[in-house]
C-alpha cells in the first residue's frame, strides 16, 4: 500500500453495526430458560437490618428465589475485594471493611443491596421485590467526608470507628515547609472537586448461566475488563477455578470507568445461576445506575503554592480529604493517592511537593475512577492554583507558566514520576494563537456593550496514562499486573484476526488496532478484524481504563506483529532460497536485499498453512503469535487549553463561547477518533465545571440528584464548537510513540472553564459547578463589596 494507514482518518469499522442497531449488548443476550433478577435496595443511608421476611415475595406468581446476605454467607460467598493496598503514614495498611455482595446486618448507603428476587419475568421480579419485607432500624448518616471524620460522626464500619480508611502522604514535608518559610509569596486556595455520577448510555447489566454438563459458568457483563472481572470474582469471591468461568463483555455502551469494577450484581447473578440451574439476567434501570454505579471525584482540598518574587514556584503543599463512599470499590484506594498526588507537579519544575490525603468512608455510593481518575482532581488543584498565583503576582497567566515549565527531558518530578518527553511551550504557543488571546481585550469590551462579562482561562495539564510497570505498581500496593496481551492470528488466505486484551466501549479499537495491523502487514483494513471482550477467545487481558489501550494494548499487538514478521522472514528466506539476514521487510513485502526477488505477505501466510515447500525441520507451520507487554513507564500526554466564557449579568448564566485545545498525544493513529475522544472529554469536563453535581441530603443521606431531571449532563447546546489541534512529541518507550487520549479533555477542561469564569467575575474562586445561581450570587456579592 502506498499510503500509511497510521495517521489516516479511517471511518470506524464498528459504526455500521452500532448505527443500524446490530450491536449486541449484554441485555440483548437472551438465553434459553432465561430468568430475571431484581435487587431490593436500601431506602436508608444507614440502618440496621433487624429482619428480612421473604415469604410473601416467594409466594408471588413467577418467583423462583429470594436470596439475602445470610444465604450468601451460608454458601461462603466472599466479599468484594479492593485491588490496591494503600499503606498509611502510620505504616499501617488501609482499613478494608467487609463488602458483602448482599448486606449483612447493616446497610450503609441508599441503594445498598439487601436482597435479590429472581423470577420468570422482569415484571414479576419487580412486583415481588416490593413484597420483600425488610425491618430497618434507621441510624444517623453522614455524607460529607470532612464531617465524617469529626468527633461524634456516625461510624460506618467497626474496623474504622473514625471513618478513616487511611491517611497517606507523598513528598518531602520538611523540605516543603522550609521552602514555604522562605517564600516571597504564597497563594492558597480551599476548594471542593464536585462529586460526579458517570452515566454511561448503556446501564450496567449482567447475565449469567451455569452449565451442568461442563460444570462451568458463563457471565455476560457490561464490563471494561472481562479478565479482571473473572480473576476477582473467581479468586476472591466465589472460590471457583478460572478455567470454569467464562466472562464475556460484548458490545458495551460506554463506561468512563464505572464498568471497571466488580459489582455485587455480577457476583450474585453468577452464583444464583447455579443455584437455580437457569440463566439469571439483571439490567439496571437508570434510577439504579444513579444510586449504585461507582461515583467519581468528591475531594475537599487546601492547596498552597510558594513562590519567589519572580513567580518561580518553590514548593507546593496540598491536603486533601477524599470521599470513598460506603465501601471500597475495586480501585477506590489508589485514585486519590497513586493517581492523584503523583500528578501534582503538572508541567512545572516545582522542586518540592508534599501531599497528604485522608480517605474517608461516608454513607454514599462507593467512589472510584471516573474519566481521568485522580488526574482531573490533581490538574484542577495545580491549574487553579497557578492561575490564581499569576493574578496574585500580577503576572500574565501564560507568562507564569512559561517561567516554570519543564524544558528538559527526561524529567524526574518530586512526586515519583519520570516524564519521558514533552514540549509545553509548543502547545501553549499553538493554543494562544488558535484562541487569538491577543484579541481578547477587544472581545471583552464588545461583550460588555451587550451586558456580558467575558473571561479567559488557561489550563496546561499533564496526565499519566498506561499505568505501569507492574513491578513498581506492585511495590506501591497494586494487587494486579498492568500489562496487556495481544494475539495475531493469520489465516491461510492472508486475512487476519487480532485478539486484544484491551476492551472497546466507545473508543473505536476495532478500527485503530486494525489500522496498525493492516499498515504493518500491507493489508487492506477490511482484511483485519479485531476481537475483544471474551475470556474464552482472548488469551488474557487487563482491559481498558486510564487511556492505556493504544499505549499498552497496541504495543502488545505490535510485539506480536514483530514475531509474525520475524517468522515470515524465515519462511520467505526458505521460499526465495536466501539467507534470513538478507530478507528485508516493508508493509507486507518480503524482499531479498539487492535483488528483485520478493514474496507478498499472503504468499507467506499460505505457505505457513500449506507447508509443502517449507522448512519443516526447523520451523513449525502456522502463523499465529501472541505477546504480553509490560510498559517500562507511564506515558505523559499533555496539552494547553484556553476557554473563553460570557456571563449574563442579569441571570448568571455562563456560556462557553470559545474553547481551544492543543494536545500532545504523541503519535496519532486515527485523528478523527482522537478528535471524538477530545470532544467527549472536553464536554464531560465542561459538564463538571458548569452543570454536573451529585448531591446527597446532608441529614437523611438520600440521593437528591437521582435522575436526569435533577442531575444535569451537558447537552450539545451547552458546549461550543471546539477548536482542536495537536503537537507531537512521540513517546520514547513504546514502538508506536503513542501516549493515549481518552481522558485528556475531562482532565483539562474544568480548570480552564473555572479560570475563565473567575477572570470574568474578577473573583478568586467559585465552587463547581458554576450554575447560573452560583454565578449570580457571586455577582451580587461583588456588587455589595463594591
Amino acid at each position: 500500500m502506498a499510503t500509511s494507514l497510521i495517521g489516516a482518518r479511517v471511518a470506524r469499522k464498528e459504526d455500521y453495526r452500532f448505527l443500524t442497531g446490530a450491536g449486541q449488548y449484554t441485555d440483548d443476550v437472551a438465553l434459553p430458560g432465561q430468568t430475571y433478577a431484581v435487587f431490593v435496595r436500601s431506602p436508608h443511608a444507614h440502618a440496621k437490618i433487624k429482619s428480612i421476611k421473604k415469604d410473601k415475595a416467594l409466594a408471588a406468581r413467577g418467583v423462583l428465589a429470594v436470596y439475602t446476605g445470610d444465604d450468601l454467607a451460608a454458601a461462603k460467598v466472599g466479599g468484594l475485594p479492593c485491588g490496591w493496598l494503600i499503606t498509611g503514614t502510620d505504616g499501617q495498611p488501609m482499613k478494608e471493611p467487609p463488602h458483602p455482595p448482599l448486606a449483612q446486618g447493616k446497610v450503609r448507603y441508599v441503594g445498598d443491596h439487601v436482597a435479590v428476587v429472581i423470577a420468570e419475568s422482569q415484571s414479576a421480579a419487580r412486583d415481588a421485590a416490593e413484597l420483600v419485607q425488610v425491618d430497618y432500624e434507621a441510624l444517623p448518616a453522614v455524607v460529607n467526608a470532612s464531617k465524617a471524620t469529626q468527633k461524634g460522626a456516625p461510624a460506618l464500619h467497626d474496623i474504622a470507628p473514625d471513618n478513616k480508611c487511611y491517611t497517606w502522604a507523598l513528598g518531602d514535608k520538611a523540605a516543603v515547609d522550609a521552602a514555604f518559610a522562605k517564600a516571597a509569596h504564597v497563594t492558597k486556595l480551599d476548594f471542593v472537586n464536585n462529586r460526579l455520577i458517570p452515566n454511561a448510555i448503556e446501564p450496567r447489566a449482567a447475565n449469567a448461566t451455569y452449565s451442568r454438563a461442563e460444570d462451568s459458568y458463563t457471565l455476560y457483563v457490561a464490563s471494561q475488563n472481562p479478565h479482571v472481572e473473572r480473576l476477582l470474582m473467581t479468586a476472591f469471591v466465589l472460590g471457583l477455578p478460572e478455567h470454569k468461568v467464562r466472562v464475556v463483555a460484548p458490545d458495551v455502551g460506554g463506561g468512563f470507568g464505572s464498568k471497571i469494577y466488580l459489582y455485587a450484581e455480577d457476583v450474585v447473578v453468577t452464583w444464583a445461576s447455579r443455584q437455580l440451574g437457569r440463566p439469571v439476567k439483571w439490567t439496571a434501570e437508570r434510577s439504579e445506575s444513579f444510586v449504585s454505579d461507582a461515583h467519581g471525584r468528591d475531594h475537599h482540598t487546601v492547596a498552597e503554592m510558594a513562590m519567589d518574587k519572580d513567580g518561580k514556584f518553590l514548593a507546593m503543599r496540598v491536603r486533601t480529604t477524599a470521599n470513598l463512599g460506603a465501601y471500597l470499590s475495586t480501585f477506590a484506594s489508589c485514585i486519590p493517592t497513586i493517581l492523584y498526588a503523583t500528578l501534582l507537579a503538572g508541567q512545572y519544575t516545582t522542586p518540592v511537593i508534599y501531599c497528604e490525603v485522608t480517605a474517608v468512608f461516608t454513607n454514599t455510593a462507593p467512589v472510584d475512577a471516573y474519566r481521568g481518575a485522580g488526574r482531573p482532581e490533581a490538574t484542577y488543584v495545580v491549574e487553579r492554583l497557578v492561575e490564581t498565583a499569576a493574578r496574585d503576582m500580577k503576572l500574565d497567566p501564560a507568562e507564569i507558566r512559561r517561567r516554570n515549565f519543564i524544558k528538559t527531558f527526561p524529567y524526574q518530578t518530586p512526586v515519583a514520576l519520570m516524564y519521558d518527553t514533552g514540549n509545553y511551550d509548543a502547545t501553549l504557543d499553538a493554543v494562544m494563537k488558535m484562541a487569538d488571546v491577543t484579541g481578547f481585550a477587544r472581545r471583552k469590551e464588545e461583550a460588555a456593550k451587550r451586558g456580558k462579562l467575558r473571561g479567559l482561562g488557561y489550563c496546561c495539564y499533564i496526565e499519566a496514562c498506561g499505568i505501569a510497570p507492574s513491578n513498581i505498581a506492585g511495590a506501591l500496593g497494586a494487587r494486579a499486573g498492568l500489562f496487556e496481551a495481544g494475539e495475531i492470528r493469520v489465516h491461510p488466505t492472508g486475512s487476519v484476526t487480532v485478539f486484544t486484551g484491551s476492551h472497546a466501549h466507545g473508543q473505536g479499537h476495532e478500527t485503530t488496532f486494525a489500522q496498525v495491523v493492516a499498515d504493518k502487514l500491507g493489508l487492506p483494513i477490511e482484511s483485519v478484524d479485531v476481537v475483544h471482550g471474551d475470556t474464552s477467545k482472548i488469551l488474557f487481558g487487563m482491559g481498558t481504563y486510564g487511556s492505556r489501550s493504544i499505549a499498552v494494548g497496541g504495543t502488545a499487538i505490535v510485539k506480536a506483529l514483530d514475531k509474525i514478521i520475524a517468522k515470515g522472514k524465515k519462511i520467505a528466506a526458505h521460499l526465495m532460497e536466501a539467507a534470513e539476514t538478507d530478507i528485508e521487510y516493508d508493509k507486507g513485502v518480503f524482499k531479498v536485499a539487492g535483488t528483485d526477488k520478493q514474496k507478498m505477505f499472503g504468499e507467506i501466510a499460505f505457505a505457513a498453512y500449506v507447508p509443502h515447500n517449507y522448512p519443516l525441520d526447523k520451523l513449525e507451520p502456522g502463523l499465529n503469535e501472541n505477546a504480553f507487554y509490560d510498559p517500562t513507564n507511564f506515558t505523559f500526554p499533555a496539552g494547553s487549553y484556553v476557554c473563553e466564557v460570557e456571563i449574563d449579568r442579569d441571570t448568571g448564566v455562563t456560556k462557553v463561547v470559545n474553547f481551544s485545545a492543543v494536545d500532545d498525544f504523541g503519535k496519532i493513529i486515527n485523528p478523527m477518533i482522537v478528535e471524538g475522544q477530545v470532544h467527549g472529554g472536553l464536554t464531560q469536563g465542561i459538564g463538571q465545571a458548569l452543570t454536573e453535581n451529585c448531591r446527597y441530603d446532608p441529614e437523611s443521606g438520600q440521593l437528591l440528584t437521582g435522575s436526569f431531571t435533577d442531575y444535569c449532563v451537558p447537552r450539545a447546546d451547552d458546549v461550543p464548537s471546539y477548536r482542536l489541534d495537536t503537537r507531537e512529541t512521540p513517546c520514547t518507550h513504546n514502538p508506536l510513540g503513542v501516549k493515549g487520549c481518552g481522558e485528556a479533555g475531562a482532565i483539562g477542561a474544568p480548570a480552564a472553564v473555572m479560570n475563565a469564569i473567575t477572570d470574568a467575575l474578577g473573583i478568586r474562586d467559585l465552587p463547581m459547578p458554576a450554575t447560573a445561581e452560583t454565578v449570580w450570587k457571586a455577582i451580587q456579592a461583588n456588587k455589595k463589596a463594591a
Binding site: 415484571s123 419487580r126 412486583d127 416490593e130 434510577s287 442579569d650 441571570t651 452543570t691 448531591r695 437528591l704 440528584t705 436526569f708 431531571t709 435533577d710 442531575y711 444535569c712 449532563v713 451547552d718 450554575t771 447560573a772 445561581e773 449570580w776 450570587k777
Partner: protein, 265 residues
C-alpha cells in the same frame, strides 16, 4: 409498571363515563407525565382511559379573534400551525419550547393543563392570555382553573375538550430553563391584550400565578423599563436544588422585562 385495565373510547361521552367509574381511574392524553410516573411505579392507576381515539378532541381553529385548540392537539402541532403563528406567535413559540422533540410530538395541551405541573409551560400561556378552558361540562376561566400544585378545577369524569385563546395585541413567553430537565425554573408570559396587561408566571411558585404588580406597572406603559424595579417577593416561591426562592424572585423580574422586550419586537 403495575398492571391496569385499558380503555379506548371513541367519544367524549364514553370517556367521561369510564373516567368516573372509580377512584383510581386516570385519563391518558399524551402520557408524557403519567406514563413516566407509572414506569417508575409512582403512579398505579386501576384503569387508563385513553383519549387518543377521540377525533373531536383534536385540531386548531382560528377566526382572527380567537384561537381554539383541541385538548388532544400535540405541542408540535401548535408549534407548527400557520394559524397559531399568525394569530398568537407567542403561543406557537411556547409550544415549540416544551420538553424535547419526542415530548412535543406526543404531549397534548389538555394533558398538560389537567396535570398542572408547577413548571409546565402551557399554564403560563393560558393564564397570561386569559384563555377559556372548555370541558364536557362547562367553560372555565383561566383565572379559576389553576388551583395549586398539580391541582385544577376539574372534577372527576370532567374532560377538557378544547382551550380558546383570545388573540392579544402583542405577547411573548420567555423561559429560564432548568438546565437538566428543561422545565421552566421561571417562565413568564406577558400579554398586552388590548384590554389590559396580563403577566403569568410559571415555575416560580407551586402553581402558575399572575404578577399583578407588574401588570399594573405595564398597564401604564408597556415597556421593559416599567418593571425593572418591580420586585417579586420570594415568600412562597419554590426553593429546590436548582434555584432558591430568592433567585427565582429575581428571575421573575428579569424574565418579565425580557418577555415585554420580546413582545414589543
Amino acid at each position: 409498571m403495575h398492571a391496569f385495565n385499558y380503555h379506548r373510547p371513541s367519544s367524549v361521552a364514553d370517556a367521561s363515563k369510564q373516567a368516573g367509574a372509580g377512584a383510581d381511574v386516570r385519563l391518558l392524553a399524551g402520557g408524557q407525565s403519567l406514563v413516566q410516573a407509572m414506569k417508575l411505579r409512582l403512579s398505579a392507576p386501576s384503569d387508563l382511559v385513553d383519549l387518543n381515539a377521540i377525533a373531536e378532541l383534536r385540531g386548531i381553529k382560528s377566526d382572527g379573534k380567537t384561537v381554539t385548540v383541541g385538548a388532544m392537539t400535540r405541542h408540535a402541532e401548535v408549534a407548527g400551525s400557520a394559524d397559531v403563528k399568525k394569530a398568537i406567535p407567542a403561543l406557537a413559540a411556547l409550544a415549540g419550547m416544551i420538553g424535547d422533540r419526542q415530548v412535543r410530538n406526543q404531549g397534548t395541551i389538555g394533558g398538560s393543563l389537567a396535570n398542572n405541573d408547577p413548571a409546565a409551560d402551557y399554564p403560563a400561556a393560558v393564564l397570561g392570555l386569559g384563555a377559556t378552558i372548555v370541558t364536557n361540562k362547562r367553560k372555565i376561566d383561566a383565572d379559576k382553573f389553576f388551583k395549586g400544585m398539580f391541582e385544577t378545577a376539574l372534577e372527576r369524569g370532567e374532560i377538557i375538550t378544547q382551550v380558546s385563546f383570545p388573540v392579544p395585541k402583542r405577547a411573548a413567553y420567555v423561559k429560564f430553563k432548568n438546565p437538566a430537565s428543561r422545565f421552566a425554573i421561571v417562565g413568564v408570559f406577558a400579554a398586552d391584550t388590548g384590554n389590559g396587561v396580563r403577566v403569568a408566571v410559571t415555575g416560580a411558585g407551586p402553581s402558575v400565578f399572575r404578577q399583578t404588580d407588574m401588570e399594573k406597572a405595564l398597564s401604564s406603559k408597556f415597556d421593559p423599563a416599567s418593571v425593572a424595579n418591580v420586585r417579586q417577593k420570594a415568600d412562597g416561591l419554590n426553593s429546590d436544588l436548582h434555584a432558591s426562592a430568592e433567585y427565582r424572585a429575581h428571575l421573575v423580574t428579569v424574565m418579565t422585562k425580557r418577555a415585554v422586550e420580546a413582545a414589543m419586537k
